[in-house]
């Protein structure tokens, strides 16, 4: 079957199929025996814990959970929920106090909102542990002086580019004669502009994408410009209209407004759309999360032609927005001791996470162990971006998600509509953020 070359085993096993058929038949034969369908919220027993996580988290945790089960006899149920659904579900259950999970995988930006309802994991953050984690990972785990999560993996945007295009001697000659320096994966904003314009030959090929529907990439540019923080500074003051934010917005939106190096639809381009465009061979470069490197499908026209480099640099050098995920334990959980044991175990065996389809980890030592293998070519750029001086995490504000949804994303979408006044946009964004953070 042609499709069997898909990344993860997409073959439907005969057993699963038969089970499904049988179950479907059963459900039809017993016309809605209501009693059987009532299921109480699963209260995890002593011998098992359940972990709610996102698709990526599940991939990362599967091997660790199996080993945990083998060594301790405790069953680990990994319950996968979609990204937005996971947030809503955890939010709802922590609010109502009726918990269906013992451990939750959390995006770093959710931690401030949930911190009050999470169990302290201070005891796990020994000096040795802190030394083996990136500083931004450690600071993201600490809310109000209390550690509330153990990192599982971290991510950052890096630069993806088409090796075949960059390596072509015809392109190299043309680029050299037009821009006066050799064609290479761009390291600075200026170079990025040049290369993106050079490869824009629409509608078949564009320089890069411009993402109007997600905010993190612009925030990375804000850090590259040398801003002390994104949107808010360390003391919580709104700085979204400082010169660095302005410079980053101009760089970001000019790619679309001035240089027109991107395919149609910038306002609604999100991660998935950008990834699809790159995998279709429609963009020569893509700023994207590192995990995408091993995920390029074999039947993609760019398979085997993709190179990776650290995120580009602004005045303050390279910077990325770290995208770590943590494991946390609810304060009112039923299985706190076992859950804490699992957290420690997952840290100890963090390197196992690298062997998952997502292929990321949290510990420096885990990354270092794999970084020389060609399959993990994205590790070096990722490490370089994460260790860069200008890389810092997003503000720990409980309203962060709302700031993103109602201010940042609409602002970016406005910025990519032709003649946008960047300074005015940031000024009005400032008052919107101010209103939210009070």
């Amino acid at each position: 079957m042609e499709g069997s070359s898909e990344s993860d085993g997409s073959k439907l096993s005969r057993g699963t199929f038969l089970k499904m058929g049988g179950a479907a038949g059963l459900a039809l034969a017993l016309p809605a025996s209501a009693g059987a369908a009532v299921r109480r919220v699963a209260k995890a027993g002593a011998g098992s814990i359940s972990v709610v996580c996102e698709a990526g988290g599940k991939a990362e945790l599967t091997k660790i959970a199996q080993l945990f089960q083998k060594q301790t006899g405790t069953t680990v149920n990994l319950v996968e929920l979609p990204y937005a659904g996971l947030y809503d579900r955890i939010n709802g259950e922590l609010s109502s106090g009726s918990l269906s999970f013992d451990v939750a995988a959390l995006d770093v930006i959710w931690m401030p909102a949930f911190a009050g309802a999470l169990h302290s994991v201070d005891q796990l953050f020994t000096p040795a542990v802190k030394a083996d984690l990136f500083p931004s990972l450690v600071s993201g785990a600490q809310i109000g002086g209390k550690y509330v999560g153990m990192p599982v993996f971290t991510n950052s945007e890096i630069l993806f580019y088409r090796k075949d295009l960059f390596g072509s001697s015809k392109e190299q000659k043309a680029f050299q004669s037009r821009y006066g320096y050799p064609l290479a994966p761009p390291k600075t904003w200026q170079q990025f502009d040049d290369v993106a314009r050079f490869f824009s030959r629409g509608p078949k090929l564009y320089g890069t994408d411009v993402k109007g529907a997600v905010e993190t990439e612009w925030l990375a540019h804000v850090l590259q410009a040398g801003s002390p923080g994104v949107v808010l500074d360390k003391s919580g003051k709104v700085i979204i209209d400082n010169p660095q934010h302005q410079a980053a917005l101009a760089f970001y939106a000019n790619l679309h407004n001035k240089y027109k190096v991107d395919p149609a639809g910038a306002p609604q381009t999100d991660w998935a759309a950008a990834q699809n465009l790159f995998q279709q061979g429609r963009t020569a470069m893509m700023r994207f999360w590192a995990h995408a490197y091993p995920l390029i499908p074999k039947n993609s026209p760019v398979y085997g032609k993709v190179g990776v480099a650290p995120m580009i640099a602004g005045k303050a050098g390279i910077a990325g927005i770290p995208g770590p995920w943590y494991l946390s334990v609810p304060e009112k959980g039923n299985n706190t001791a076992l859950a804490m044991e699992f957290l420690k175990f997952s840290y100890d065996h963090n390197a196992l996470a690298v062997q998952s389809s997502l292929g990321l980890a949290a510990r420096k030592s885990a990354f270092a162990h794999y970084q020389n293998q060609p399959k993990y070519a994205h590790f070096r750029p990722l490490l370089e971006t994460l260790s860069a001086k200008a890389t810092v995490g997003r503000p720990a504000n409980p309203k962060w998600q709302q700031i993103v949804d109602t201010v940042l994303v609409p602002m970016l979408q406005k910025s990519v509509t032709g003649k946008a006044d960047y300074a005015a946009l940031l000024k009005s964004a400032r008052s919107d953020v101010q209103r939210l953070v009070g």
Binding site: N91, G92, S96, A113, G116, G265, T269, K399, P410, T417
Partner: protein, 283 residues
């Protein structure tokens, strides 16, 4: 009657009472605090541009969707009626979108209209209506997105309009039209003076039913744009959902819901009182 009434009381009326109570409190679910604020939430909602904006958009969206459905539905119903019995097979084809889940329809249309690889723009380009497939950005142009997100709904339920109106047309006595024809009325006159007035109650009912559904649109829009870009396709249902669930402000969301529900009840009640006699009178 009693069990059904009890059921509706417990699972519809009681949640509504809870909603009404919640709307008077400021609630922080994670902290577990609840503070009585009277009509504070209502004042906040009415003074927030998001609420007013999405209320407007809900009204516009409903207007666009229902009027297009009515126009297209009436046109196809007239076609079916003119062509008679032999058009039945085609009526069957017309029916099928009604069965499709709104979430699937939204997803499907997002795929048809999507930038860069959507087939609609490709086809429009091939037949020469567009110069390039990138000429219209259905779901990312804030000026037209409110119309674009309504397309799945129009596709899903024009057939409802069409079938209802067709049934209404069939009920118009043939002799009446024949008599008018003999009196020298042309097709357009027959339509304006006989068909439309007789069809009016049916149209009214169909418009109310569809209007209520369109005003509650949630999943179709959520899956297409999630309210974007620039919140230009965010309707009340989406705003209330986000306020309630994502931003954790049930008090404010409840106040919004109450006003939303009241507005719908008033609009529908006015329409109902004028044209619809409920209960046994239908026999």
């Amino acid at each position: 009657m009693a069990p059904a009434a009890l059921f509706l009381a417990v699972f519809v009326a009681w949640p509504l009472v809870k909603l009404l109570l919640d709307s008077l409190y400021q609630i922080a679910p994670l902290a577990g605090t609840k503070r009585y604020v009277g009509f504070g939430n209502y004042r906040n909602a009415l003074s927030s541009p998001e609420f007013v904006g999405s209320a407007e958009r809900t009204a516009i969206y409903t207007g666009i969707v229902v009027s297009l459905e009515l126009t297209l539905g009436l046109a196809t119903a007239l076609l079916f009626n003119t062509l008679g019995r032999r058009s039945r097979v085609l009526r069957t084809v017309f029916l099928y979108p009604l069965m499709i889940a709104p979430i699937v329809a939204g997803l499907l249309w997002r795929f048809l209209l999507i930038d860069n690889f959507g087939i609609v723009n490709e086809l429009l380009t091939r037949v020469g209506i567009l110069h390039t497939p990138a000429a219209i950005s259905w779901l990312s142009d804030p000026n037209i997105v409110l119309f674009s997100v309504g397309l799945p709904d129009i596709w899903l339920t024009t057939s409802f309009m069409s079938l209802v109106l067709f049934a209404g047309l069939q009920n118009i006595p043939g002799e009446l039209l024949e008599a008018a024809r003999i009196d020298g009325a042309n097709a357009r006159q027959r339509f304006t003076w006989i068909v439309l007035p007789l069809l009016r109650p049916v149209i009214a009912v169909a418009v109310i039913v569809r209007g209520i559904d369109a005003a509650r649109a949630f999943d179709v829009i959520l899956i297409q744009t999630n309210g974007g870009p620039q919140q230009k396709s965010e309707t009340l249902s989406l705003l209330i959902y986000q306020t309630m669930i994502r931003y954790g402000d049930p008090g404010l969301a409840s106040a919004m819901s109450v006003m939303y529900l009241l507005a719908m009840l008033v609009t529908a009640a006015v329409a109902l009182a004028t044209i619809w006699r409920p209960g046994r009178s239908q026999a």
